[in-house]
């Protein structure tokens, strides 16, 4: 490091992280060909949006409408003629003249392998959409061998970047590990984490600006962590639950749901969902209250709602325990 450090020109914008922001404003349209049909789509749209306009259902895992695309899961890849590699539909913008294939053998192969690689290393049992994708692409995760043993508590958190225990190859390594339960509101079961980065985005610049969690480690050792893996009560977490709201696999789960599942009493078929406005403050966030046998079991918020964009605070998300307590008293 030089002694005479100089900052870049102060006019240079502070980097906001690696992903560019989608342009907004009035849009012209461009012509592209998707699966043989030539269509006009608004300039600046992504291939995912363009596909959706044609009724094409492109699978996504790390994409969410209210978060900046990180394009890491690669399930959404499509074939772009002239490109050496497949391209991620969720973030690649349309360009005039693009010829796209969304269901070619090459696309199906990559999607199938992405599903198999994930399902052979992660517990996807509480990710219903993932199960649908698995059957759509005929994924067979067992091709890589029987599942390997789970890690002990803290083992994955203390792995050194760039090093790992040599596998003997007889089993398929997994991220399986004990559930982290360190507070009364929600649990973190990273055995179920597909590392989609959504929780980190929701905790950071995309919603909450709390930065309690980040991606740590590297390679297969990469994981979601607080600094030094301190417990949530010791971390910056304010229990807004926005990370739970965006988690696609159930890795982040209301403690209420986790406990009921453990007790075998969780029964989605017996649950009702009721939209209401959060009573706590004047902002007016929409809450979707999930109740089972008259007890509130969790609270979510619809993504397409202007006020909160699916994000809440601790009161709206968790401030219903007293309702249940009243019920208990009845």
């Amino acid at each position: 490091m030089s002694d005479n450090l100089k900052a870049p020109d102060p006019l240079v914008p502070v980097p906001q992280g690696p992903v560019p922001v989608l342009p907004t404003g009035s849009r012209k349209s461009v012509e592209i060909t998707i699966d043989g049909a030539t269509v006009a789509v608004p300039e600046g749209a992504t291939l995912l949006e363009a596909g959706r306009m044609q009724g094409i259902d492109t699978p996504t895992l790390c994409f969410l409408e209210n978060l900046t695309p990180v394009n890491v899961c690669r399930i959404c890849v499509v074939e772009l003629e002239g490109s050496r590699t497949l391209v991620p539909a969720c973030s690649r913008k349309v360009e005039a003249g693009m010829v796209i294939h969304t269901d070619s053998e090459r696309v199906r192969h990559s999607r199938r392998l992405v599903l198999e690689l994930l399902a052979s290393s992660v517990d996807v049992s509480t990710a219903p959409q993932f199960q649908d994708y698995m059957s759509r692409y005929e994924a067979e995760p067992s091709r890589f061998g029987p599942p390997g043993p789970p890690a002990a508590a803290g083992e994955r958190d203390s792995a050194r970047p760039g090093h790992h225990h040599a596998p003997d190859g007889s089993t398929a390594s997994r991220v399986a590990q004990p559930v982290k339960i360190d507070n009364e509101l929600y649990v973190r079961d990273y055995s179920k984490c597909i590392l989609c980065y959504k929780c980190v985005e929701a905790c950071g610049v995309d919603a909450q600006n709390t930065f309690a969690i980040a991606v740590a480690g590297r390679g297969f050792g990469a994981r979601i962590a607080t600094e030094y893996d301190v417990t949530l009560p010791d971390s910056a977490c304010v229990y807004c639950g926005n990370c739970i709201g965006v988690c696609p696999t159930g890795a982040l789960m209301f403690k209420s749901e986790h406990d009921m599942r453990a007790a075998g009493t969780w029964d989605e078929s017996a649950q009702s969902q009721t939209d209401t406005i959060c009573p706590y403050c004047g902002v007016g966030c929409t809450l979707t209250v999930h109740a089972q046998h008259d007890l509130i079991v969790k609270v979510t918020s619809p993504l397409d709602q202007d006020v909160a964009n699916g994000h809440l605070c601790i009161k709206g998300r968790f401030g219903w325990e007293w309702v249940n307590q009243d019920k208990d008293r009845d």
Binding site: T85, P161, G162, G169, L195, V215
Partner: protein
């Protein structure tokens, strides 16, 4: 943003080291970019990055501690867990394997316990991927933290020398000429000075022709330099073989401010040419960067150098300081009115940070995760600005283009591979080292230039281009070493690695080590590479131990599927090429099923 901190406090030493660092930072401006340098400071003074130290530096830089932890925990040379102050990183990668790496590791284990154990003593050792010293195999790097910190590259390494260095002894330093078997020979262009002059003396550099090109460049003007480089048909030497003129043109079209980055991260197994250039002729890189910055209208340059290259970093720092004193770097260079300064940034043990966009994230203080492209760095690069990024060797060709003239430069080599080229020759050859030759020399001639085969003398295979390259067999020795010639046989020149293996090598174990490398070095961002490299390593382990699932054919077919998704759907070049060398060996070579 309101930051939250745990109650952990730094020790007085950590606090002093961090405060000293922070006091040298410029006032104002974005501070996140100083995160990695700050982590280096803590690592160097304390030997690890404690929770209290991280809190303290995060307060100073305004970075959330969870994010800073995620950055620290990305790099192999930084430790977020307490460890002994003296650590030996012992290379067990493919270049050192045939040169006794395993017996060195065994000897280390006998004295210090298992690799990575931190059992209380003052020193410990770890296995390391290629340290970029394959010509001096087996190699080791000893890092001692504390009040008198030191970093010593050792090669060839013996347990006695490594243990001595851990205890504070200075290991023998053979000098850069030992890595340059051609040093002093007539007719060398890129290596005209390296190994022959004092690399710390600006006077020696100048007497040997240094700065002639810079003076000419300042007279010619940016436009003329740019058109010379374009008509010389200079192609990037960093591995991707991209035409330099095209890259420069793209950045020149974009609005200022623009940045120039020299990619000196060189971590591809088998590659060491940039290190030898920087150790042997550091002023040439500084001169080259000033010329490139001038030609592309960049106002600032960065050299991102591999963390494992302490000597090259010291020599570059010295060269930059001497150039500043002489008015050849900084404000108003040589009275031309052009101002340009260069900052050195050190990596911290991550091959992926050689990928251009990962490198930019690393400089900016983020995890070294590659960005999705487009947009390309020529438009949205470092700090979101248009950025030229070139390899060390690419840049060092630029003064040569100016002194020789584009036409003469382009007449060397072939139509599509112009100019002189550096090759990293290691493995089973008699005289390993960095060699300069014109493009078009054949693989056979190259091996002969390096003294012919060593070991048993019977060639089994040659790894061409690096771990991301390809294996070729004894029948391919007449391939011309050019971009197009190697491509024609389904290989690649990559980073110009030439690593022959004799018939005593058990290639399945070599392939397994390559698979281990990619697994360890994957940034972990995208699924095809993060998990694909794990499945590939498991599969290669089964092949190497001849304990396959189903038949060998089933395994090879499964590997092809894993390779295909990594190639098709990964974000960056690491995933795209992680199976290339392995698949090439399985396709071309008759692999044994058991070690001899």
């Amino acid at each position: 943003m309101d930051l939250h901190f745990t109650s952990a406090e730094p020790t007085p030493q950590e606090r002093a080291a961090i405060d000293g660092f922070l006091s040298r930072l410029p006032a104002g401006g974005p501070r996140r970019q100083y995160l990695l340098p700050a982590l280096h400071v803590v690592q160097t003074s304390a030997g690890w990055i404690s929770e209290g130290a991280l809190n303290h530096l995060c307060r100073g830089l305004g970075v959330p501690p969870a994010e800073a932890f995620g950055v620290a925990d990305f790099y192999a040379l930084l430790s977020t867990r307490e460890q002994p102050r003296a650590i030996a990183h012992v290379c067990d990668d493919i270049g050192c394997m045939p040169k006794g790496a395993e017996s060195l590791c065994n000897a280390m284990e006998a004295t210090l316990g298992p690799a990575g154990s931190t059992g209380g003593g003052p020193s410990a050792w770890q296995r390391s991927p290629c340290l970029g010293m394959c010509e001096r195999a087996p190699a080791a790097l000893v890092v001692v933290a504390g009040e008198n910190p030191s970093e010593q590259a050792i090669g060839p390494a013996t347990a006695a020398v490594v243990l001595g260095a851990l205890a504070g002894d200075a290991p023998p330093e053979p000098g850069v000429a030992a890595s340059l078997p051609q040093a002093g020979a007539a007719g060398l262009r890129l290596l005209a000075r390296a190994g022959s002059i004092d690399p710390t003396s600006i006077g020696a550099y100048e007497s040997a022709g240094g700065f002639t090109a810079l003076r000419r460049a300042l007279e010619m003007g940016a436009e003329a330099i740019f058109s010379e480089v374009t008509s010389a048909r200079l192609v990037g030497r960093g591995g991707a073989a991209f035409p330099t003129g095209v890259k420069w043109a793209a950045v020149r079209r974009e609005p200022a401010p623009r940045y120039l980055i020299c990619n000196a991260d060189e971590s591809e197994p088998g590659t060491f040419k940039d290190r030898v250039l920087m150790e042997g002729d550091p002023f040439a890189l500084v001169e080259s960067m000033v010329i490139a910055g001038f030609a592309t209208g960049c106002e600032r340059g960065y050299v991102y150098i591999r963390g494992e290259y302490p000597l090259a970093a010291t020599r570059l720092e010295n060269a930059m300081a001497r150039c500043r004193e002489r008015g050849l770097l900084g404000d108003d260079i040589a009275g031309s009115g052009f101002s340009f300064d260069v900052e050195l940034r050190r990596g911290a043990g991550a091959y992926i940070c050689g990928e251009e966009t990962a490198l930019m994230n690393s400089i900016e203080g983020f995890r070294g995760e590659p960005r999705n492209k487009p947009p390309f760095p020529t438009q949205v690069g470092l700090f979101g600005r248009p950025t030229v990024i070139n390899n060390v060797e690419t840049l060092v060709n630029v003064p040569l283009v100016l002194t020789m003239g584009a036409e003469a430069f382009a007449s060397i080599g072939t139509e599509r591979s112009t100019g002189p080229k550096l090759f990293c020759v290691s493995g089973q050859v008699a005289r390993p080292g960095v060699y300069e030759a014109d493009f078009g020399i054949t693989l056979r001639e190259m091996i002969e230039l390096a003294g012919g085969l060593a070991g048993s003398g019977k060639l089994q295979a040659v790894l061409l281009g690096g771990a991301a390259g390809a294996f070729v067999g004894p029948d391919d020795l007449d391939v011309p070493l050019t971009f197009e010639g190697t491509r024609a046989i389904g290989a690649t020149l990559g980073s110009a690695v030439i690593m022959p293996f004799d018939d005593g090598a058990y290639l399945p174990a070599v392939l397994r080590r390559i698979a281990e490398f990619f697994r360890d070095e994957s940034c972990g961002q995208c699924v095809p590479c993060r998990v694909g490299t794990v499945r590939q390593e498991e599969l290669l382990q089964r092949l190497a131990s001849n304990d396959v699932h189903g038949s060998r054919e089933d395994e090879v077919a499964l590997l092809a599927e894993i390779g295909r998704v990594m190639r098709d759907a990964s974000i960056c070049g690491l995933g795209h090429t992680a199976s290339s060398a392995i698949e090439s060996a399985l396709a071309r070579l008759p692999l044994p099923e058991e070690p001899k």
